[in-house]
């Protein structure tokens, strides 16, 4: 058993892809593990996460990328990607 992290989605994203469920708990050390675990529960979701979201890990914003470490018990919040001027 690896460390668990809390996965969260926005309401709109959850409605579209996870049957409206906004919160999950998965085992993960890297964001790669989170994406794989969510894709196993909802086939095809992994690609959506990579392509369509930015991620906040304990509030810190990152590009959604495999290499990003996630701390044990941490919150991984997938939100719409952002663009600036």
């Amino acid at each position: 058993m690896g460390p668990t992290v809390q996965v969260r989605f926005t309401e709109g994203f959850a409605r579209a892809f996870t049957g409206g469920v906004r919160e999950f708990e998965v085992e993960a050390r890297l964001l790669r593990d989170v994406i794989r675990a969510m894709n196993e529960r909802f086939p095809g979701l992994g690609e959506r996460l990579v392509e369509e979201t930015t991620v906040a890990i304990d509030g810190m914003m990152h590009e959604t990328a495999y290499f990003q470490p996630v701390p044990p018990g941490g919150e991984v919040f997938f939100i719409p990607k952002l663009e600036g001027g």
């Binding site: 969260r8 392509e51 369509e52 509030g59 914003m61 990152h62 590009e63 990607k81 600036g84 001027g85």
Partner: protein
């Protein structure tokens, strides 16, 4: 400057800018300056109609005109499947993009490109355009966002239904999508409020107003290899989008960024580059293109105009209990306004337990919206910060104290989901309170207004190279276009990292064949993300230099430390060695392994958001409605200012653009949807004589995720000015303005109609 900053020798100083001499002597090459032997001039035929079906295009007479080398229409570009690619906010649908650069079935705005020609002179090219016959079926048009949302509005796309609505609508509309964010219990929150203000607002679409118009040169050879030189905020994006639109490999294009005369988000996309490339491929000659100012106004992306409703409740002691807002944004001719950003940023400066934001993205017969400085956030801030001012008055609180009482801090739950990761907002408010001008008395017809703003700031992919010359001078190359001083800031961070003098570092913007992928200069991301890449490359070189010193001294590399631009023995027991400077080590490069250099690459994350709090003093002329800005103080959390003069310039520039948005700027259309003020004479941006000196207050709360504490600084400064000025006007003449611009006739009409405070 913070105490931490004083430990640095170069970071936080104000050396002469490296691009200064070429720019003031006229030697700098901007987009339209670049020349090649045998070049042709490219010109674009544009739609005279706001909305029309194209029944046919006949280019035969133009092609037969002596001198004309190439003519292209949409038939020269491959079509693309209808598919949104990438994240919702920035989704790219190349079915849309290829139709934006060159109209196919319909023209969707006045100025929409329908054909392009290349000829030896502008005169011949323009004559050729006049010979192209386009058979239009003119259609009803719609520009206003609220009109475009009505069920009986003219449809831009007869098969478009609203995304994000369940069940999916069975009728088409101009509403491209609906988004919603929310936390808590709105009903309970408003029930707990002693005061509730609910108001509607409108903002005008405004252009970025960059001084240099779009321009590029493209050259393709018979082997299919091409080059593009252009004025853009990201030459890697120019390469990628042009290749996709032409149906060729990005590897077949080498893109070079020329000097850029402003972008503010409007040059993060392509208009001319694929047209010049298509023309050049067709005739195998270089093609140069440049937009006129009229073309810029009619055919390139402004930011959205919007309508919105904002409802906020608070207790008697000023604690906000609930907030709710709906934003309707003009996307222009194709979906993709910044309404998602507006929804996410609207309440971000505040700790609000119960909140909801809803956004609608609406197409209309105007140019497709493009990014503009903190896209979306200034629009929502106008409504939200105006309502907060009204609530502060109802509670009898000072507007800064009201905001302080509700300020978001690290750990505050954001309406868009996660918790706020960094502090910085409170410090900007405290800076305003401490400013000596905040307590200064004001005179008759004068008012003081306060407002704040939030912007995420960006990270993402950047690359850099570092090479050491044999005299120890350092060449830093990056893939970031220098719009706001990045060559200076990269040089300062490299000098600091190496411990060498700033004037020993030369910084260049490398082309797409000379450095790794680097995302656009936008989102206030470059000093943060590219700075990390530069820092990484410098440290790789330092590690290499330590290895070389260890080789010269015959010691282990761990016995060598780097400081003050030289290798030093790490301790007394290493040996009695004189330090080896970077220049001395570089002089022995052949002996110790050859050329010295390294690359740095990153997908940078953990960027910190930006907060800005501002107040202004204005005076209203009661006879004309003219607003004179008397004083403007802008406090911004900048993390750490690498080159404070540039940072102050960013703040001053953002505030000035906000003042223009507040008081003057708007598009004026005739009844056929044709723009009547496509020039700086009639589309009035502020000029120096309109303005006081903008007092930029640098608040430094360093970002621990960056080696020098950097936070993005380029955008958040444009968020507060519109509401700050509206709040000041209300204080000055007891008239609340709900629509931008607050131009003299509009303010005069509101004052005449009002006679009493409209806050209730």
């Amino acid at each position: 400057m913070s105490a931490e900053a004083k430990e640095f020798k170069w970071v936080g100083t104000r050396p002469v800018r490296p691009d200064g001499v070429p720019k003031v002597t006229g030697r700098a090459q901007y987009g339209a300056d670049y020349r090649l032997p045998g070049e042709l001039i490219g010109k674009v035929l544009r739609s005279p109609h706001a909305h029309a079906r194209i029944r046919g295009i006949d280019t035969s007479k133009a092609e037969a005109l002596p001198g004309v080398r190439a003519v292209v229409t949409s038939a020269d570009f491959p079509d693309h499947p209808f598919a949104y690619i990438g994240p919702e906010r920035v989704a790219q649908n190349f079915w849309h993009i290829t139709r934006n650069i060159m109209a196919r079935e319909k023209v969707l705005y006045e100025g929409h490109a329908v054909a392009a020609v290349a000829a030896p002179s502008a005169a011949v090219a323009e004559e050729a355009l006049s010979l192209i016959e386009v058979d239009y079926e003119v259609l009803p048009h719609v520009i206003d966002v609220d009109e475009a949302m009505k069920p009986d509005a003219p449809l831009l796309f007869e098969d478009m239904t609203t995304r994000g609505v369940e069940p999916a609508p069975d009728k088409p509309s101009n509403i491209s999508k609906r988004v919603e964010f929310g936390i808590g219990d709105l009903e309970a929150g408003f029930a707990a409020a002693d005061h509730i203000v609910e108001k509607s607002f409108r903002t005008a679409p405004v252009h970025q107003g960059y001084i240099e118009t779009h321009a590029c040169m493209a050259r393709f050879d018979a082997d299919g290899q091409g080059e593009i030189w252009s004025s853009s905020q990201g030459h890697f994006v120019v390469r990628a989008m042009t290749a996709k639109l032409l149906g060729i490999s990005p590897g077949d294009i080498r893109a070079t960024a020329l000097e850029i005369g402003g972008g503010f988000g409007g040059k993060t996309i392509v208009y001319l580059d694929p047209l010049a490339a298509a023309l050049s491929r067709k005739c195998s000659q270089p093609v140069r293109m440049q937009m006129t100012r009229e073309e810029v106004f009619k055919a390139t992306g402004p930011t959205s105009g919007a309508s919105m409703s904002v409802k906020i409740g608070c207790t008697d002691d000023g604690k906000i209990t609930a907030a709710d807002a709906t934003f309707n944004f003009q996307a222009g001719a194709f979906p993709g306004s910044p309404v998602v950003n507006a929804c996410m940023c609207a309440f971000a400066p505040y700790d609000i337990e119960n909140a909801r934001t809803v956004g609608y993205d609406v197409v209309c017969n105007r140019p497709k919206a493009a990014a503009y400085r903190a896209p979306g956030s200034p629009i929502s801030a106008f409504g939200v910060e105006s309502v907060l001012d009204m609530l502060a008055k109802k509670t009898g609180m000072d507007p800064v104290e009201f905001r302080l009482k509700n300020a978001a801090r690290q750990g505050t739950q954001m309406v868009y989901g996660p918790k706020l990761s960094h502090d910085g907002y409170v410090e900007t408010l405290e800076a305003l309170m401490a400013h000596p001008d905040y307590k200064k008395p004001i005179g008759p017809n004068q008012g003081r207004g306060v407002a704040s703003g939030f912007w995420f700031n960006g990270g993402g992919e950047s690359s850099a190279t570092v090479h050491v010359n044999d005299d120890g001078t350092v060449i830093v190359g990056s893939g970031s276009v220098d719009v706001g001083g990045s060559r200076a800031s990269m040089a300062l961070m490299a000098a600091e990292t190496f411990g060498v003098d700033y004037d020993k570092v030369r910084c260049v913007v490398s082309d797409t064949a000379s450095v790794g992928y680097t995302h656009v200069t936008g989102g206030s991301r470059v000093t943060f993300a590219t700075g990390i890449a530069v820092h990484q490359a410098c440290n790789k070189v330092i590690d290499d230099l330590r290895q070389r010193a260890a080789m010269i001294w015959d010691v282990d590399v761990d016995a060598v430390e780097w400081r003050d631009g030289a290798a030093h023995p790490a301790g007394a027991n290493v040996g009695d060695f004189e330090p080896l400077t970077i220049g001395e080590l570089a002089a022995k490069r052949a002996l110790t392994g050859g050329p010295i250099g390294a690359a740095g690459t990153t997908n940078a994350g953990a960027q910190a958001p930006g907060f800005s709090s501002q107040f202004c003093d204005i005076e209203v002329d009661p006879e004309t409605g003219h607003v004179q800005v008397l004083r403007f103080i802008a406090a911004q959390d900048v993390g750490r200012a690498i080159h404070p003069s540039y940072v102050e310039g960013q703040i001053q520039g953002g505030v000035v653009q906000g003042i223009g948005w507040a008081l003057n700027e708007e598009y004026i259309y005739d009844d056929k949807g044709r723009l009547e003020n496509a020039g700086f004479l009639d589309y009035r941006v502020p000029v120096a004589s309109d303005l006081p000196m903008i007092d930029a207050v640098l608040v430094e709360v360093p970002n621990p995720s960056h080696p020098y504490g950097v936070k993005g600084v380029g955008e958040v400064n444009i968020c507060p000015p519109m509401a700050a000025i509206a709040n000041a006007i209300d204080q000055a003449v007891d008239t609340r303005m709900y629509e931008l611009p607050m131009s003299p006739p509009r303010l005069l009409a509101a004052m005449d109609a009002n006679g009493a405070d409209g806050d209730d």
